[in-house]
């Protein structure tokens, strides 16, 4: 495909016909597909907000790079890996899509990773957390941008350990993502010298957590680690407050929490929670300015996933501009070469395994008294430098790391 394209371009040049400036861009359009959950449990943390973020990135280039117009298309994968795969295939085969962005839900992302790897398309992952995406299942065209399960476990796990909380009990969502999050956190806690007292697995989409919380409460653990996401985490935190768990001295750790979850919970229930995040809107002038523009369009502050989509799409477009082509090999080489520098990531860099290294932040949810108003939710406790925030690429199991 690529050689054909190159040959074609070369032929045209040789023939001396009028070659338009964007001859190296396939079908003369840079098309980016934002594929995520637009109606289910992850619709608030990604959804239309991610599409808005991608459009904001394109607008910064005047919707034009390397002489070709930029087009953002969107689709709903409904959290189903098969739908994600067929949509990605359709986009690549007949839709002229050059890059796929976001794709929360690790199962869906793993399916898309396989397709983009085979078909040589850029994959900008902001939503999925599975470390395999930049590990055993890594791809030369796949970039994991915002966070991953290792970063979440390392950030929150270490912080709580340093506060003297050494005995853990897990409440884990019983599917690939939850188990992987529990596993990463277990490794981190054990490597520091802590102990795991027990764990309980709950089905995905559980409304009533009282039973699991009671088991956790009775275990005598210092920390109850919630290895789940979205609505499950929200319900667990809310009911933990009801059962007096935090008042009795046990800490809750939301191992993957987004600002949309905190917003849904309200500060009354969420206060004091420790969490790791890749982005918070209220960090400096740049983040505030961007988030304000985002809020004007989306009606709410961005989550780290949405901000990550902006950053990844922007970096991709920057690389296309610099490489003057949408050829996936050249663009991905350019993406690795250029530093990632925008309001989301300061001095970010992309490792051989496709993991984008940037600073992560340990945050604590404010109390209602500390909060000055809507969306004033986090205190940034400390910055976790990029090098310790993410897994060493050599240990990731990715075959691209030499």
């Amino acid at each position: 495909m690529r050689t054909l394209l190159l040959a074609g371009t070369a032929l045209l040049t040789l023939a001396g016909t009028a070659v338009p400036a964007f001859a190296q861009v396939s079908d003369n359009v840079i098309r980016i597909g934002v594929l995520n959950d637009r109606s289910g449990i992850y619709a608030d943390l990604a959804g239309e907000g991610s599409a808005i973020a991608a459009r904001m990135a394109a607008e910064e280039f005047g919707n034009k790079v390397a002489g070709a117009p930029v087009e953002i298309v969107v689709a709903d994968h409904q959290n189903k890996a098969d739908i994600a795969a067929s949509k990605a295939r359709e986009w690549v085969d007949t839709g002229g899509v050059d890059a796929i962005a976001d794709v929360p839900n690790s199962a869906a992302a793993l399916a898309v990773q396989g397709i983009t790897k085979d078909k040589k398309r850029i994959f900008l992952m902001s939503g999925p957390g599975a470390t395999a995406l930049s590990g055993a299942q890594c791809s030369p065209y796949g970039f994991q941008w915002t966070y991953d399960n290792y970063a979440m476990a390392a950030g929150t796990g270490r912080a709580l350990y340093e506060q003297g909380k050494k005995k853990w009990f897990f409440v884990t969502a019983d599917y690939a993502f939850g188990q992987s999050l529990e596993e990463e956190t277990t490794k981190m806690v054990k490597s520091l010298g802590g102990t795991i007292i027990g764990s309980v697995r709950h089905p995905l989409g559980t409304a009533d957590f009282s039973s699991f919380l009671l088991q956790a409460q009775g275990s005598g653990a210092d920390v109850i680690g919630l290895a789940n996401a979205g609505g499950d985490t929200v319900n667990a935190v809310k009911q933990a407050a009801e059962f007096g768990i935090t008042q009795s001295g046990q800490s809750l750790a939301g191992l993957l929490m987004f600002i949309s979850d905190v917003n849904a919970l309200g500060l009354q229930s969420a206060q004091g929670l420790m969490l790791t995040t890749g982005f918070y809107w209220d960090m400096d002038d740049q983040t505030r300015e961007w988030s304000k523009a985002f809020e004007a369009k989306a009606g709410k502050k961005p989550t780290m996933v949405q901000a990550g989509v902006y950053s990844a799409v922007k970096h991709y477009l920057k690389a296309v501009e610099a490489a003057k082509t949408d050829d996936a090999d050249k663009v991905s080489a350019k993406m690795r070469e250029l530093p990632v520098e925008d309001m989301f990531a300061k001095k970010g860099r992309i490792a051989a395994n496709g993991r984008m290294f940037h600073d992560m932040y340990l945050a604590q949810v404010k109390t209602p008294a500390e909060s000055k108003g809507a969306w004033d939710y986090y205190k940034i406790v400390k910055t976790i430098p990029a090098d310790t925030a993410f897994m060493d690429p050599k240990q990731s199991g990715c075959s691209l790391v030499k």
């Binding site: 309980v200 089905p203 409304a207 039973s211 699991f212 009775g218 809310k238 009801e242 007096g244």
Partner: protein, 295 residues
């Protein structure tokens, strides 16, 4: 200290109590479904959506009108009931002469529309609803910490369940209702306005769902998806109890809550399947349900 299958009795009692709490939610919701099916022969798939609407009405009242929990407990069921009556008058009433399937399709469609509308407006993460001040805190029972609010939920829903059962099975009004389902023409001939009675029954059935929504609001997130998560279990409860059997719905709701509680101790991974396993077994052995009569 003795233990049962490796589980200390404290844990077991705690879980049984929690099961009872969940069971009372199931009972309250399946009661409404059973009343509607028993009287109208309509399989009301919009029940979960109306439960969600009940919770949202409570949240809207609190957020925009400053009406607290106790006010919402009265207002929200009335709002949901009126909505139900409007739906029945304008749409459902046209389907009684047709196959059950049409009622099912209509109510399923209504559920999707209601959920879609709320999702569009409020997003999927849901909205927080605080526990009313009077019911904050809890009691230490020795074997577990029982939040006051959960105790209130059990008492409230059991009272309502019993009241409904009594009204339908033991009062004159209930007798009219039951007669009207058996033979509407004859009952109408006695001077009773059957269409109005049917509308009111539907309104009452969905008002129960709205009430359950208000009771659930402080425990769960007020989210557009909350009904979808629950409705399937509630349907299983109704099927196990026997379609249309009021006592069956109440007893089965509580019983399955307890069973689910036990499953969460011994094999938590199966806790959302156990209800359906029971349903399959009951359908095999007694197709009309535990309390149902063959028609």
């Amino acid at each position: 200290m003795f233990s049962l299958l490796g589980v200390p009795p404290q844990v077991l009692f705690g879980q049984l109590l929690l099961g009872l709490i969940n069971g009372s939610f199931y009972a309250l919701l399946s009661l409404g479904l059973a009343v509607i099916f028993g009287m109208l022969n309509v399989i009301n798939f919009a029940h979960g959506a109306l439960y969600m609407v009940g919770a949202f009405v409570a949240w809207l009242l609190l957020t925009y009108a400053g009406v607290g929990y106790w006010g919402a407990l009265v207002v929200a069921p009335v709002v949901v009931g009126l909505l139900g009556i409007a739906l029945e008058k304008t749409m459902l009433s046209r389907l009684y002469k047709l196959d059950h399937l049409y009622g099912l399709l209509l109510t399923f469609g209504l559920a999707l529309i209601l959920e879609g509308a709320f999702r569009h407006q409020y997003g999927v993460s849901g909205q927080p609803y605080p526990i009313p001040d009077a019911l904050k805190g809890g009691q230490n029972l020795g074997f577990m910490f029982l939040p006051n609010y959960r105790a209130w939920v059990v008492v409230a829903s059991l009272t309502i369940c019993f009241g409904t059962w009594f009204a339908i099975e033991r009062t004159k009004l209930g007798a009219y209702l039951r007669a009207a389902t058996e033979n509407p023409t004859l009952v109408q001939a006695f001077g009773i306005n059957v269409p109005v009675m049917v509308s009111l029954t539907y309104g009452f059935g969905v008002a129960l769902a709205g009430l359950a929504g208000v009771l659930a609001a402080p425990i769960y997130q007020v989210s557009p998806l909350m009904g979808t998560n629950l409705i399937i279990i509630v349907f299983a409860v109704v099927v196990i109890g026997g379609m249309g059997s009021i006592l069956g719905a109440i007893v089965t709701g509580l019983g399955l809550g307890l069973l689910e509680g036990l499953t969460k101790v011994f094999y938590p991974e199966a806790s959302n399947i156990v209800v359906f396993v029971v349903m399959a077994i009951v359908l095999l052995i007694k197709p009309a349900g535990l309390f149902g009569r063959e028609r």
